[in-house]
């Protein structure tokens, strides 16, 4: 009997695992995908090797890459970018850690209070969340992003829009700024040289500006795992959880098992109350099933897999909201081409942003060639100059929206990848019941019936559609202001990368799965701690910080409710995840 079993070692699960390990609980962390314990031996810097969703090392599938990836049903032109493996999607993320806008929390009374998704706010206040934001920010640590040429160019465009610069952690108004990110600031030779002989740790510390965030961070070369620049959970929370005995008094290291696919959450009736009692998982390699019991079970498999596991476990869904209310920031993609050098594929993927509550936001995104090309061709508006698929909007960009492909894409890329600046358009999108995860009618895989992710992108709420158009125009104006000679709007089909709220926490029992403590309403001792627990799309900010802050809060609630413990976030200071005691212990463990 474990104290706690956490299902999924992505962006959220390791937070709960680490916090409770520090309190001395016996925690088992199960990850469906690969461990990736030796990145220098397993990873490269190449896009197909890394990011091919069928065969890459960053895919949704088992460790053995000769076996197929796990198939998921998407009944529309879309791309749901799931990742298995320790670190989950933080393995390929850009480490952006903006706070959720205050307007998405209960009790907000700013002048723009009616502009948000007012029916789906968090069931507690922004002020209550702040200590948890601060805890995660100190732990990662979250810092102000260093600037490269592509950021300089983004700021040049932002300066033409008549907005102030944000110099606080909290976003109070439309404004722009460097990202607050979980990327260690460059130190020593990092960022100052391209000579690889000068870029070994500790001569170089923090971000070396290599430009490979999306292929996984394993730099500076030679650094301990917990001092790699990007604070994905495989570089931060997981190392802390595995070494809890050396940095927390009374701490107990977690047990981590990879290639362990949880297929069922078990329950029993205790005094007439449905209560979680354990899990069954399947070993990807041997196919053997294992079962363990626990006092508390935490689901952290992500927005698509949590609903699937819920349904496959036969758990109750009295209000029908399991899997519903999936938000994705309804992204769009704007490409600017320049006559001058932009530094597009160098440095952290995105280190500049513009926030525009209550509409959404923008951020620059640098990508290598294949991902750039992919980004240019994912569209719901046909092919520019050929057909529009019923859309093809016009505006302050050049020509109709649509795919930049074939000869046009080749010409654009031939102009130089260092002459492009791309902007991600982030929409403050509404929680909608119709955007959801159900079980697919297609054949099951070895782990049971598979999930189906449905997004009705053309039938979203008026507010969502209006916000996206508003932010797309701002993106085009920013690129013009930065000096773009040509601006292309792609009108992305749903690229589901920022995922939120499919098992949402809410005030009302009518449209939420979790109560305000993060426990499921239908099953006691069952908690959810990852992006799916978020109440809404946060107004547009990248979700990881808010998700980890909420998971920290949930860990406290678990400790208080079921282990007679005291909360710690308001009274203690966190150990920073780069702590040398962790590095030393990782070395002893061969990690």
């Amino acid at each position: 009997m474990r104290d706690v079993i956490v299902i999924g070692a992505g962006g959220g699960g390791p937070v709960v695992a680490k916090e409770l390990a520090a309190k001395g609980l016996d925690v088992l962390l199960l990850e469906a995908g690969p461990r990736h314990a030796k990145p220098r031996e397993e990873w490269t810097t190449f896009e197909d090797d890394a990011n091919n969703p069928l065969t890459g090392y960053f895919r949704l599938g088992p460790t053995d890459r000769s076996k197929p990836a796990w198939y998921r049903e998407w009944p529309q032109n879309s791309f749901v970018w799931q990742l298995s493996g320790v670190g989950g999607t933080t393995q390929h993320f850009y480490g952006n850690y903006p706070r959720a806008y205050p307007g998405v929390f209960k009790g907000y009374d700013g002048a723009d209070r009616n502009g948000y998704d007012v029916n789906h706010r968090f069931p507690f206040t922004y002020a209550e969340m702040v200590p948890y934001f601060e805890w995660v920010e100190a732990l990662m640590p979250v810092q102000t992003a260093a600037m490269g040429h592509k950021e300089q160019m983004f700021f040049r465009g932002a300066e033409t829009l008549g907005l102030p610069v944000q110099t606080t952690k909290t976003t109070h108004e439309p404004s722009y700024r460097p990202q607050e990110n979980a990327i260690l600031q460059p130190g020593g030779t990092a960022g100052k040289t391209s000579d690889k002989n000068l870029l070994n740790y500790p001569q170089a510390t923090g971000c070396t500006f290599c430009g490979y965030c999306f292929q996984g961070c394993m730099r500076p070369n030679g650094a301990p795992r917990n001092q790699f620049a990007k604070r994905s959970t495989d570089n931060s929370y997981v190392p802390m959880a595995l070494t809890a005995n050396v940095w927390a008094r009374g701490g107990k290291p977690i047990e981590l098992i990879a290639d362990a696919y949880v297929t069922r959450v078990h329950t029993e009736s205790r005094h007439g109350v449905l209560t979680a009692s354990g899990v069954t998982w399947r070993d990807n390699v041997s196919g053997e099933e294992h079962r363990e019991d626990a006092r508390v079970v935490v689901m952290s498999g992500g927005c698509t897999e949590n609903p699937r596991l819920w349904f496959n476990s036969g758990l109750p869904n009295p209000n029908g909201w399991v899997g519903r209310g999936y938000t994705d920031h309804f992204f769009d993609w704007m490409i600017g081409s320049f006559d001058e050098y932009t530094g597009n594929p160098k440095g952290v993927g995105s280190s500049a942003r513009l926030d525009y509550p209550p509409y959404g936001g923008l951020e620059n995104v640098g990508l290598p060639p294949a991902l750039s090309a992919f980004g240019g061709t994912l569209s719901d508006s046909g092919i520019r100059g050929q057909y529009k698929n019923g859309r093809g909007k016009t505006g302050p960009w050049d020509g109709p929206a649509g795919r930049v492909m074939g000869p046009e894409l080749k010409e654009l890329m031939a102009g130089g990848i260092d002459k492009l600046l791309t902007v991600l358009v982030i929409t403050d999108d509404d929680v909608e019941a119709q955007n959801r995860v159900t079980l697919s009618a297609l054949p099951a895989d070895e782990n049971g019936p598979i999930p189906k992710v449905t997004f009705k992108q053309r039938k979203r709420t008026k507010r969502t559609l209006k916000n996206r158009e508003f932010m797309a125009r701002k993106a085009a104006e920013l690129l013009r202001g930065a000096g773009a000679k040509k601006v292309y709007r792609v009108d992305w089909a749903p690229l589901i990368l920022h995922v939120q709220s499919s098992m949402r926490m809410g005030e009302s029992e009518q449209n939420s799965v979790l109560d305000a403590r993060g426990e499921t309403r239908a099953v006691k001792r069952l908690f959810i701690a990852d992006n799916s627990a978020l109440s809404n799309g946060l107004g547009g900010p990248n979700p990881t910080l808010t998700s980890q802050a909420l998971a920290t809060r949930t860990a406290e609630k678990i400790f208080q409710t079921y282990f007679d413990g005291d909360p710690w976030v308001r009274t203690d200071s966190p150990v920073v995840s780069t702590d040398p005691r962790i590095s030393v212990r990782l070395g002893q463990l061969g990690l």
Binding site: D49, F79, Q143, Q152, R177, P178, L442, P443
Partner: protein
């Protein structure tokens, strides 16, 4: 045993439209007509059964069709790009190995359950009725046609996993002949590869249209609750073919050595776009400083 009636005209048209007829027996086709003649098959035990004859034909047909797709994503200095009307001086998708990328992905790595792939393939190849489009130049003896059709049916009904590249090629060719019926004949092996760039775009417009006839036809083949799933899949496939072909063409796939995890040559797209001129790096000297000199912020 009574002799079966020859397949009706609509079957001939259909086999032509998905490209099988031309690839097998058309001008430049891969099979000698006599190989499908029943007299030979009955009397010569050295000749392989028709189903073995047709397998490599379908593989070549799929490759040719996908050549037509990958140059649509990234044209180059090749014959397919020339036919498409977008000849380019610099290397393109074929030089980048994008067709192999697509075939490898479709046939070995798309984790697409056979339980769906088989009926989708069968629906595409056996179930669709004649659209009434007149197709020129198909002077074929009924007996050869019947043999070909039977071989195809036997292949689709066999237990062997259907390579997904074949129904995908069939889909593209079917749409190609909808856009331009003349594409049943001409250079290359497949109707889709014979289209101009604008015609290929028109073919994708048909696939992406949410109310397309093809979607309706396919859904008819499946009972609930799979009905919507198949049409939904098709909407997904239309976008994915373009996006994935483009990703493959601009990636390092064609020159990557998985054993050493290094590149044998510089990828086509790296040369085209000027990406990391000296190969992979440990870092860049691109750090300028902090915006307005601010290294930290507080509330």
């Amino acid at each position: 045993m009574p002799v079966a009636d020859p397949p009706p005209l609509s079957r001939r048209a259909f086999l032509a439209r998905i490209g099988v007829l031309g690839a097998a027996l058309g001008g430049g086709g891969l099979l000698a007509r006599s190989m499908l003649a029943p007299a030979d098959a009955a009397t010569n035990p050295l000749l392989p059964p028709a189903v073995d004859l047709i397998r490599p034909v379908l593989a070549e047909l799929a490759r040719d069709t996908l050549n037509g797709l990958t140059v649509f994503a990234m044209p180059g200095p090749d014959a397919y790009s020339r036919t498409q009307g977008t000849l380019s001086r610099t290397p393109g998708a074929l030089e980048a190995g994008a067709t192999d990328f697509m075939i490898n992905a479709l046939d070995h790595f798309v984790p697409f359950p056979d339980a769906i792939a088989q009926p989708v393939g069968a629906a595409l190849v056996t179930g669709l009725a004649d659209s009434g489009i007149a197709l020129p130049g198909l002077d074929l003896l009924p007996v050869e046609l019947r043999s070909l059709d039977q071989a195809l049916a036997a292949y689709l009904q066999s237990d062997a996993a259907l390579p997904l590249s074949f129904p995908i090629a069939g889909l593209l060719n079917l749409m190609a002949t909808q856009v331009n019926p003349l594409a049943v004949n001409g250079p290359h092996l497949s109707p889709f590869a014979r289209l101009t760039y604008a015609e290929k775009a028109a073919a994708f417009e048909l696939i992406e249209k949410t109310d397309s006839d093809l979607v309706a036809l396919l859904d008819v083949q499946f009972p609930e609750p799979l009905k919507g799933s198949v049409s939904g899949l098709l909407k997904f496939v239309g976008g994915a073919l373009i996006e994935f072909a483009t990703f493959g063409a601009y990636s390092e796939y064609g020159v990557f050595d998985p054993d050493t995890r290094t590149l044998r040559k510089r990828p086509v797209a790296w040369t085209l776009s000027g990406y990391q001129p000296n190969g992979p790096v440990e870092g860049w000297d691109d750090f300028i400083g902090y915006y307005q000199g601010r290294m930290e912020v507080h509330d």
